[in-house]
């Protein structure tokens, strides 16, 4: 085994200590992760870990924004992996840096390292001798590789990690300081807008630029194939010029979109690549007396970030600098290099915060837009921002899924065989991972790249469409298969949880169905089929909080849902209380979460509350709408999300386990909450809604099916 065998994955890839930690002269510590803040609070959790391990006040920690100019390459900030990958790395790096400085201090002060202690960066020993990280910094080189096997502080000695520390970025956001990329101004900055068709995949047949050319403030009109845009002195001028350009554009329609009202028929009729995800067999399971088959469906879901995507780019002497809210600066750089046919060294990609990011949205697309427009701006920086309509129609969507579960029951009504099949587009078409770029404008150029057909990460990385499709319950036999579409009329990529929301919805609804037929309590049924104690503990904790099973009341229903995210991450159980008649309202959610060590328990609770509310929004309201030629849900009116008056109360119990390696919380709640709501709807109305969202139309359709 190599020496790096014991290093956390991010550290093995970036082993130099100095790439993670630097002591700045003014008594500060610069911590430089490759992961980025996307509204999840990661920089605070990482700062807590660093301050704790180094024994410095958290106010001394400066979190450096990721940039290809010098940050460690940690791939993409996704999959609830930042605590796991970046957090473990920073803990280990800081533990080693602490040891190195203790040894240097021992030398300088002439005392044993074991006699020294560190308090807010001051290293002191017996007889009032003292020095500090900053005094020693010029003599200690951190330009060395991390040593495997360094032990960090035991849980009991941590004073910041595992505590609810206030987030470092919140004051800026509450006082409206310029922290978002949208609010950046650079000297000489211009504004760009890109012209995109209403119809999906339409090509620009002709472009009459004359009206736009005549406008004041116009710097350039850029056209390359079907990619067209304007660069202007002001944002207002850019909007006016874009409108003029739009009037001069002639498009040829192209792609035919599927029937939005029968997604399973579409998904099952396409050419697919089929994969057996998992099988489990038993020798003797007894006689099968009954088989139940159910089909579940979730629609395409939009990221619907509250801000339209935005980027700034500046070309100087054949090199380009890009400011972006991408989740992966190095991956974006790789794709930009492909499109621009430039070496990566000619491109610097620097992260700045955007609005909440829930996966692969249009952040990377708009970065290429800005780069292409800025090329015509004579060295001036160009800021490009998408419209709300483009954000809701041209960015990648979470993939629609049809899921079929078939189970064989024995004479006692126990499940003896389980078959789970998924039809879906792939759930990932991220930049930087293929020989072709994944960026929208790359498909529009005169020499276009084909649209990248989404694929699925392998199960060892959590899977894609098949994420959370392998049951956590101890059924004796199962077969799990995934059918990935090889066509992609609607662009899909990674949205929070990938396929897990759909699969957990299906599995947990099906289980509820079986439990209900058996007349067995659904919580007891789940506990009876689980052997993992942490799994049982979250279910029991949520049930306890909800006073399970609450007394029956007319018009009110309760349901449960459970999953361990990616089958290897956070454990989460939810109980939902809904009120239902023609519509469904979610009144309350009780949730228990176990992420192992919760570095910032309030941060975990915040992520779980947010995830639960977003999942409620998906379940009750959300579906991307389209007709045969265009995405029609291009405004908040046509793509409604949950509002303040509709938001359920959410009670979260964080089960703190300081001794267990931490995992992320960002995606743990969506599946369990979806399932809990579906099961509560059945409890309330006696109807199994197997097609999301639970709108009035889908409720009525489900009632018709039941009746």
């Amino acid at each position: 085994m190599s020496a790096s065998g014991n290093l956390p994955i991010s550290l093995a890839a970036n082993p130099k200590l100095a790439s993670w930690v630097k002591f700045a002269p003014a008594g500060q510590v610069a911590i430089s992760p490759g992961k980025v803040e996307i509204g999840q609070g990661i920089i605070t959790a990482l700062a807590q870990i660093a301050a704790d391990e180094l024994d410095v006040d958290i106010a001394r920690i400066q979190m450096v924004r990721a940039s290809t100019a010098g940050s460690p390459n940690e791939g993409v900030t996704s999959g609830s992996l930042s605590i796991q990958q970046s957090g473990r790395t920073i803990r280990q790096v800081c533990a080693e840096v602490r040891q190195i400085f203790l040894a240097a201090a021992a030398d300088r002060l002439g005392v044993q390292a074991s006699a020294l202690e560190i308090s807010d960066g001051t290293i002191s020993g017996p007889g009032n001798v003292a020095t500090s990280y900053w005094e020693l910094a010029s003599e200690v080189s951190l330009d060395r590789e991390a040593t495997p096997g360094i032990s960090s502080k035991p849980a009991a000695q941590r004073t910041l990690a595992d505590c609810p520390v206030q987030r470092l970025d919140i004051p800026d956001k509450v006082f409206a300081r310029r922290r978002f990329i949208h609010d950046v101004t650079l000297p000489g900055m211009l504004h760009g807008r890109v012209l995109r068709p209403d119809k999906s995949g339409a090509k620009l047949a002709a472009l009459d630029e004359s009206a736009a050319r005549a406008l004041p403030g116009l710097i350039a009109i850029v056209q390359d194939g079907s990619f067209a845009g304007v660069v202007c002195e002001t944002e207002h001028a850019a909007e006016v010029a874009l409108a003029a350009l739009r009037r001069g554009a002639t498009w040829t329609a192209d792609d035919a979109l599927p029937d939005e009202n029968d997604l399973p028929a579409f998904l099952k009729a396409q050419p697919v690549e089929s994969t057996i995800i998992a099988t489990k067999t038993a020798v003797d399971v007894g006689r099968v007396v009954r088989t139940i088959r159910r089909q579940y469906c979730r629609p395409y879901i939009a990221h619907a970030s509250i801000a339209p995507s935005c980027a700034v780019a500046q070309w100087i002497d054949g090199r380009v600098h890009v400011w972006t809210h991408s989740q992966g600066v190095y991956l974006l750089r790789a794709d930009l290099a492909l499109v621009l046919k430039l070496p990566v060294e000619a491109i610097t990609v620097e992260h700045m915060e955007g609005a909440g990011c829930y996966g692969h949205n249009a952040a990377d697309d708009v970065a290429l837009d800005a780069v292409l427009l800025a090329r015509m701006a004579d060295g001036r920086p160009v800021r490009v921002q998408w419209s709300r309509a483009d954000e809701l129609t041209h960015g990648p969507f979470g993939a629609a899924m049809a899921i079929e579960i078939e189970a064989d029951l024995d004479a006692q009504g126990e499940i003896v065989n389980w078959h789970h099949a998924i039809w879906s587009n792939g759930h990932a078409a991220r930049p930087g991972r293929a020989p072709q770029p994944a960026l929208l404008a790359a498909t529009e150029l005169a020499n276009p790249y084909p649209r990248m057909i989404s694929s699925n990460p392998p199960q060892v990385n959590g899977g894609g469409a098949d994420r959370n499709s392998i049951p956590l319950y101890d059924f004796p036999q199962w077969t799990i298969e995934s059918h990935r579409l090889l066509t992609m009329p609607i662009r899909t990529s990674a949205l929070r949880t990938l396929g897990a929301q759909g699969n957990v919805f299906a599995i947990e609804s099906f289980l509820d169905d079986v439990a209900s037929e058996r007349g067995e309590d659904p919580v007891a049924f789940r506990l009876r089929h689980l052997s993992d104690e942490r799994a049982k503990e979250v279910i029991k904790a949520a049930a306890r909080r909800a006073n399970w099973r609450p007394e029956r009341r007319a018009g009110i229903g309760h349901g449960a849902g459970f999953a361990r995210y990616k089958n290897a991450g956070a454990y989460c159980a939810a109980i939902a209380e809904v009120e239902g008649d023609e519509d469904v309202r979610v009144r309350k959610l009780w949730i228990a979460i176990d992420v192992g060590e919760a570095i910032n328990p309030d941060g975990v609770a915040n992520q779980i509350e947010g995830g639960a509310i977003q999942a409620t929004s998906w379940v009750l309201k959300e579906r991307v709408r389209f007709d045969s030629e265009r995405i029609t849900s291009n405004s908040w009116t046509d793509y409604p999300i949950l509002r303040f008056s509709e938001v359920p109360k959410v009670e979260v119990e964080v089960i703190q386990r300081p001794e267990i390696d931490p995992v992320g919380a960002g995606e743990a709640a969506h599946g369990p909450v979806t399932a809990a709501i579906a099961n509560a709807v059945f409890d309330c109305l006696g109807v199994r809604v197997r097609k999301l969202p639970m709108t009035r139309d889908n409720l009525i359709a489900a009632m018709d099916l039941t009746g």
Partner: protein
Amino acid sequence: MTIIRFRLNGVVTEVDTDPARSLLDVLRGRLGLSGPHFGCGSGECGVCRVIVADQAITSCDAPLWSVADKEVMTIEGLGSAESPHPLQRAFIAEQALQCGYCVPGILMSAAALLMQNPKPTEVEVRAALDRNLCRCGSHNRMVRAVLSAAREMAAS
């Protein structure tokens, strides 16, 4: 071009431009503010809300002429780190956001509510914020923060 005069965060401000331009465009463009955000451009999401004559309005679809001779307050006028508004203090205390992009608009809706109704109920707070969207799911923390700021303001 027409000169439109209004008070912006207490300061008399004159803008010589097309009066049909949106207030948000003028605030973020000519006047260089970054607090009011752009979200949709059609008054649907509320991230651009500012207070005009004690009402929180969407500035992205309000023409500049509509604020002539009026008092306009943006989040920059609400408070600062040195002198925070109770709502800002409460949002920090409750950690009432995730990404924070919607926060300037939400704070202005909440501030307008407290001007009109210093002791709102939870239902009233939710109703007042109903035309502001939050995608991260921080709603309940924000409601708690508004109620806590209202209590603090009532007590002082």
